[in-house]
Symmetry: C2
Subunit: 113 residues, 2 copies
DNA sequence: GCCAACTGCAAGTCTGGGGTTGCATTTGGA
DNA sequence: TCCAAATGCAACCCCAGACTTGCAGTTGGC
């Protein structure tokens, strides 16, 4: 019905899982600065190319990264769209919690006078 | 200099890791609806109390949950603050990526005419 | 045409952490 | 007072996934 996490109670943990690894986060933010291939990233980061490839697959699966070929290279770049979707949803959820909390407090105070 | 993740390049993966587990997410959203103790949650969710206790520790460590004693119960409740912080930061990062992307495209098109 | 460089596939290792069970301890409240 | 119910601690199991090494296949570009 919806791909956003507020659409239902679908767990958005997949996206979070993609963001939860340090190496993956480094790769992602690095791609945010400028697109790069797996081999190029492997030269910059202290992990093997294969490890990076796997991370890129996860990131692509989460919709956080997009790939296109340039010459014989497979260049990846970071996509902001999914991330801002998640941000918006998180913000809504947080607001709902705090609102509910405030309601409870108000109710408790008002009702006990 | 800053506790937010945009402040530096500090990896915010700790918070994401806290959100990345399904069971933990269920616990967190459940607490968002109404505060509850570990034992109460254990009765509602298909996991042992001990598992829930560990999850609550993680959530508390990430600043997503707060606890206070009521009678002999230790009641936990979800806090929106940290979550909206993360949301704001993610949104900024996403915007920066897209902006950079747009710049590159514009530059490429303009330069190749 | 050829080679250097990039990608893809396949095992295989090993640590983290999610989950459980069991028991000890405390304490609220009828 | 006394018990049911809540918390805390500890040892243990088990698997997902992060990382590596090694090799085979493809292809761009001089």
């Amino acid at each position: 019905m919806s791909t956003t996490l507020t659409g239902g109670d679908a767990a958005p943990t997949a996206v979070f899982a993609a963001l939860a690894d340090d190496t993956r986060w480094r790769i992602l933010t690095r791609l945010g600065e400028a697109p790069a291939s797996a081999s190029a990233l492997a030269r910059e980061l202290p992990v093997s190319r294969q490890a990076i490839v796997k991370h890129l697959e996860v990131l692509r699966g989460a919709g956080l990264v997009e790939a296109h070929t340039v010459g014989r290279e497979l260049v990846h770049r970071a996509l902001g769209g999914r991330l801002s979707d998640v941000a918006r949803d998180l913000d809504r959820i947080a607001a709902a919690w705090d609102r509910r909390l405030a309601d409870i407090k108000r109710l408790a105070e008002g009702g006990e006078v």
